[in-house]
């Protein structure tokens, strides 16, 4: 699916992750800032990429600032940002959950 507008979800509070999703042309690119990048960077990227794949988003720029979010939080924030970027907030994507 095509990203219609840049969107943001999440905050910079502890245990949260702030994710920004905007148009891209070069697959999914993820710019990740995290204190636990070394330990969990790959896992965080995987959760984001997998969740975006459920929305059939193949191209997009992701900018994520992680403050120690658990996988479920990362997934929830990614779903929120994807729906906002696709402007489909009013149609919950049950299968993505």
């Amino acid at each position: 699916m095509e990203i219609k507008q840049t969107a943001l979800a999440g905050t910079l509070e502890s245990s949260d992750i702030q994710i920004m999703l905007s148009k891209g042309t070069d697959g999914i690119t993820i710019d990740l800032e995290s204190d636990v990048e070394k330990q969990f960077g790959d896992q965080i990227r995987k959760v984001i990429t997998d969740t975006l794949a459920e929305f059939d988003i193949d191209n997009g720029k992701v900018k994520a600032v992680d403050k120690g979010a658990l996988d479920c939080v990362i997934k929830a924030r990614t779903i929120a940002v994807a729906q906002r970027a696709l402007q489909t907030q009013d149609q919950p994507a049950w299968e993505a959950f």
């Binding site: 905050t11 910079l12 509070e13 702030q18 994520a64």
Partner: protein, 352 residues
Amino acid sequence: MNNEIVDLHLNDPQVRKTWEDFLTSLGITDFQSQETDAIDFTLGIYEGDKLVATGSAAGNILKYIGVCNKGVDQGSRFNTIVSALISRLFQQQIFHLFVFTKLKYSDSFQHVGFHELAHSDVAALLETGDSSIDDYLDAIPRVADQTNKRVAGIVMNANPFTRGHRYLVEQAAGENDVVYVFVVNTDASLFTKAERFELVKQGTADLKNVIVVNGGDYMVSYATFPAYFLPAPDQQVDYQTTLDARIFRDRIAPALNIKTRYLGTEPLSRTTGIYNQVLQRELPPQVAVKIVDRKTTTDGTIVTATAVRKAIADDQLDSLAALLPPSTINFINQHLESLQFRIKKGMNINGN
């Protein structure tokens, strides 16, 4: 209202005083009206009735961020306030943000996803959002085999494009394979950015090796160099221009293989005079600085855009032929009324 984000209405004198006292206690003391008037909104966090964190935004620039960490985890309030500012700006469809801050806070901003564009001994400029300086540079047109060409750059506001600008571009075009002319993007001049850009394009259309591009947020913009548009003390101009020069030297010039930057001498504008000095201090040896003497008319008057704007205000169009290329004269003749209207409405024509 503990630790909740609230809007601070600075036109309330009580709130304003609390806000100024709080920031003053943190070492932020510049509350001149030209700085504070630009603020679009201000957020704050109270602990009891005590202000413990605040941040403001002016356009796409974060300003006046101050946080007290007493009694809480280091950085948590900072994250909260920055997070709230970013969300608010996003709701307003502003997706590309800048912050100009003291060098010691650069790390804190990098920790919340900002990337540093440049820093000097005292200050740093950072950006975040859905586009970056790399996207900006990627979008600039290039010529074949550019790494082996002689490339020069000129930055101009061109308010409006005069024979003086034309002369400067001609000199550069004669001595180089490619010349980039960056037109200042900030809309704070008599001629709008679209008008200025178009007049530069028309005025250089016959010079085949000149590429006119938008200076974006990275060259003499409100973010990099606010003092160009607002009156400011010399030292502040120096701080800001140092960052502007370093962005050019470290980011823009290497990406485009720009080896020389051309400047016009600046006998009349103090701010631009300081800017030119700073460029000469900062750019070499990576980028050579070449100063071209001001163009004068046949009777020896210096060609400046300031004189052109004054002539428009005074309705003295006869004097313009000596100062302007035909494309700019045509434009002024066609849009005289609207230009004079803008001046009447209070557009400052004596600045840059």
